[in-house]
Symmetry: C2
Subunit: 200 residues, 2 copies
DNA sequence: AAAAATATGTAGACCAGTCTATTCTTCTCT
DNA sequence: AGAGAAGAATAGACTGGTCTACATATTTTT
């Protein structure tokens, strides 16, 4: 059974996540998190005795989960790697547009803001990225790409999407995401034959 | 002649830029900027009466200039688009490694942190990105790519590098940048013939 | 009753921004 | 060329507000 405390804790993490997406980590005050979540103020340090960093870490983990789920669910319906990529980008475009370009990737912000100062948060971001690159790599391997190539492609695709989210948001225009979907989509649909030739 | 005031103002912007790269925009206090620059606090609001936003805007513009210069200078020596891209990535890897992965792209952080709250800073970031995509597009057009394709490629390359910087930094490992250099480098070196075929 | 969870207040540091006073530069006028 | 006025630049304290974090007390749940 879900206790009251667990719900409060969850709400705090969800609010932290949303606020980080809109204002970044440093720009998100704990008072604001408490207010936004509707959770009792005194409960924050009961559920997160290690403070803001612990809350941020959980938020990054939640974001990683969400995107991993999106990828896994979309992978089932997709006809090809390129099709999968384009579908995922469509969802990302929806997220940007629905929020009027107010929300970005929380993992990127935290990595950029806190990577130099908090080993804990930096690691959480690294794990999040790896948790996306890994499954994409396996997917591409399953589609016939040699593992090293698949790994390179997966890394490039994931970082490309991160960057395209940022550029799209700054310009309030999804061109960057559409370009990434098209260019990278075609790329991962190319038959892996010629790569093998260059490798053997 | 360079007046004392101009030097102070420049130092403030440079310090703001460095600090933003390490701690983000919200995480950078003006007291810290003043301290780091060696300039006095009284001078800050003399040179930047519009406050922190104006200082941040100038820092973003400076960063945009620096990267544009790097691109322009490298373009002269490069044998092919892929070669150019790989050289630029080598410099970025150097920046990351030399700073022990402490410094990131200031434009990305500002876009993510302030994009939703400051139209002024969001625009500055959009202009910065455009000031990179534009020249890259022209370069690719000069190398025979049809303009629409060149624009798509340039956008994907720039956002890919942004993302790869972030992922590399989070993981304290330049694999993401190397993958981007290899995958995107090969991509922009592909002869534009087949695109023209599909287009005519 | 015991434990879990919530409520409230507050300490101490830091934040962006403003103020007045003072010191340097530079230019004018003789 | 030299005095001195005008303005540029610097100095540093100060304000009202917010931040994280903690302490203590009260309520809810089991």
């Amino acid at each position: 059974m879900i206790t009251k405390g667990e719900r409060t804790s969850t709400r705090l993490v969800e609010s932290m996540l949303e606020l980080i997406q809109a204002r970044g980590y440093s720009g998100t005050g704990l008072n604001t998190v408490v207010e936004h979540s509707g959770a009792p103020k005194g409960s924050l340090y009961f559920h997160f005795p290690e403070g803001k960093e612990a809350l941020g870490e959980r938020a990054v983990e939640l974001a990683a989960d969400q995107f991993r789920t999106l990828f896994a669910e979309t992978a089932g319906d997709a006809a090809s790697p390129g099709d999968l990529l384009r579908r995922v980008v469509d969802v990302l475009i929806g997220l940007l547009a629905d929020s009027d370009f107010q929300l970005g990737c929380p993992v990127s912000v935290v990595a950029l803001e806190m990577g130099a100062h908090s080993e804990r948060l930096r690691t959480a971001c690294a794990v999040a990225f790896e948790s996306w690159i890994g499954p994409v790599t396996e997917y591409l391997v399953g589609r016939g790409h040699p593992r090293p190539t698949a790994r390179s492609l997966a890394t490039t695709v994931v970082s490309g999407l991160e960057g395209a989210m940022i550029v799209s948001r700054a310009r309030r225009d999804v061109e960057a995401l559409r370009s990434a979907a098209q260019v990278l989509g075609d790329l991962v649909d190319q038959p892996p034959a010629n790569v093998a030739k260059g490798n053997s």
